[in-house]
Amino acid sequence: MSGDSIFITKERIAGDREGPLAGERVAVKDNISTEGVRTTCGSAMLSEYVPPYDATVVERLKDAGAEIVGKANMDEFGMGSTTETSHFGSTENPAAEGHVPGGSSGGSAAAVAAGEADLALGTDTGGSIRNPAAFCGVVGIKPTYGLVSRYGLVAYANSLEQIGPLAPTVEGAARLLDAIAGPDERDATTRREGAETDYAGAVDGDVDGLSIGIPTELVEGAHDGVRERFWDAIDELESRGASSHEVSLPSIEHAVAAYYVIAMSEASSNLARYDGVRYGPDTDSEGNWNESFADVRDRGFGDEVKRRILLGTYALSAGYHEKYYGKAQQARAWVEQDFEEAFEEADVLASPTMPVPPFELGESLDDPLQMYLSDANTVPVNLANLPAISVPAGTTDGLPVGFQLIGPKFGEKRIVRAASALEG
C-alpha cells in the first residue's frame, strides 16, 4: 500500500545526531506540534497551521537521533475510532484490505504496519493507540498518565490523554518509550517516575510466577474469534509459568458513559480557542464577533467534532452539570478504586484490546453510539490513569486481533515484560 493515505504531510526531518534512535524512521501523529511543519489535527480548522515550536516529545526524538518521516493521518482532533473522521480522507488498513486501521492514531499504526516508518508516535485518550495497534497487528503502549510530557500536544481531553509509542515489536515500542518518557518542566502533570527508565531492558519474556487477573466483563461480550485468540494467548502465558484468575470490575459497565461525558466536556472547553483569529481559516463573514466565530467553527469542524463539542457543552450547561459531569467524575473514582482492588491480587490484568475485529471502511460512521461502545475495553484504563499495552494475538478470519495487558500506575516494565512473552 502506498503512503499516500497514511501521512497528511510527508516531511524528512533528519536525525543527524548520534543517539539511541539513530537510523530509525519515526512517524508522528498530526496532533503533535513540529516546528515549521504544519500540524493539522486532521481538521480543516488547522489545515494551514504551522507551529512555531516543537512538542517536548519531538525534541526528544531529535535528541535521540531519530529521523521524522511524516505527520500521520488521524481522526479529526483525535475524535473517532476508525480514522474516517479525518478531513483529509480515511486511511486503509495495511494488514486488512478494505478495513479501517482503527483510530484515532490510525495513520501512525498504518505507517508501522506498512513499513513506511520503523516506529510511530500516537496519542491515547480512550484507546487511540491501542485500538489501531490491535487493528493493524502492531504493538502500542498507552503510558501511565504523567509519564510522558503533553507539552506541544494539541489538547482534546487533557485529564485522559497521553502520547505513546507504536512499533512492530514490544522491544521497539519500549525503546521509543524510553526516549520520550520523563518529567518536563513545561508540563506540570509529568512525574519523576519516568526520569530514568529502561523499558527495553524488560523485554525478556520472563513471566514465571506472574499473576494475571482477567476482568470477565471485558471478555464475555467479545466477538467469538477475538475471544478464541484471547484464550490462546492466556494459554501461552500459562505454559511459560504465569497463572490466571477471574476478577470482577463492577464499575466497568459505566466506564464508557463516564469517559465520553468527561472527554466531551473537556473537548468543549479546549476547542473553544478555535475562533479563526490567531489561527484558522480566513472568513469573509460580515457578521459580528459571535456570528463570525460560529461561522468559522461551522466550516472548520467536521460532524464528529461538532457532535462532541455540543454534547460536552450540554453536559456542562446550567441544570445538567451535576447530572452528567458530576456523576461521570464519581464513576471515574469508582473505576479507579475497582482497579486498585484488582491489583491487590494480580500483577497485571488482561483482556482483548478491541471486542471486535477491524470494521470495514464506511461501516460505523452512521451510528456514533455504536462506535463509542467499541471502546469499552480501552477507556477504563484512561479513566484510572493506568498503563496498558496492546500486542498482536493472531488473526480471526484473516483480521488482526489485539491482546491488552494493563498494569498498575508506572508498571510499564511489568506489562512490557509480559507482552514480550507473546512474541515468538
Binding site: 512555531p52 475562533d275 464577533w289 463570525s292 464519581q330 469508582w334 456514533p368 463509542y372
Partner: protein, 92 residues
C-alpha cells in the same frame, strides 16, 4: 432507549453557547442522535458515591522571565493582523 428527540430549540441553544453555526439539516440530525446518546449517559444515575484518593500535589516553579515567541512567530498563523496585533471581527 427513548424515542423522544432532544427538542430542536435545545440543540440550537447549545450550538449558540458553543458558537457553532448549524443548518436545519444538522439540527435535525443532532437532535435525534443526542437523545440516544444522552439516554446512554443516563446510566450514570446508578453510580454510587465514591471518593477519589488525593494523589494530587501542587507543582510550582520560580516566576522568572524566560524566552517566549517573538511577535512575528505569534502572528504567523493569523489570517489577519495589523500593526503587530491580531485582527478580529467587529464586536457589535
Amino acid at each position: 432507549m427513548s424515542d423522544q428527540s432532544v427538542p430542536d430549540e435545545e440543540v440550537r441553544h447549545v450550538a449558540e453557547l458553543a458558537r457553532i453555526g448549524l443548518d436545519d439539516e444538522e439540527v435535525e440530525e443532532f437532535s435525534e442522535q443526542f437523545s440516544e446518546i444522552l439516554s446512554a449517559f443516563e446510566t450514570l444515575d446508578e453510580v454510587p458515591e465514591a471518593e477519589r484518593d488525593g494523589d494530587l500535589e501542587n507543582v510550582m516553579r520560580a516566576d522568572e522571565v524566560r524566552e517566549g515567541l517573538s511577535q512575528e512567530e505569534a502572528l504567523r498563523n493569523a489570517p489577519d493582523s495589523e500593526d503587530g496585533y491580531f485582527k478580529g471581527p467587529s464586536v457589535s
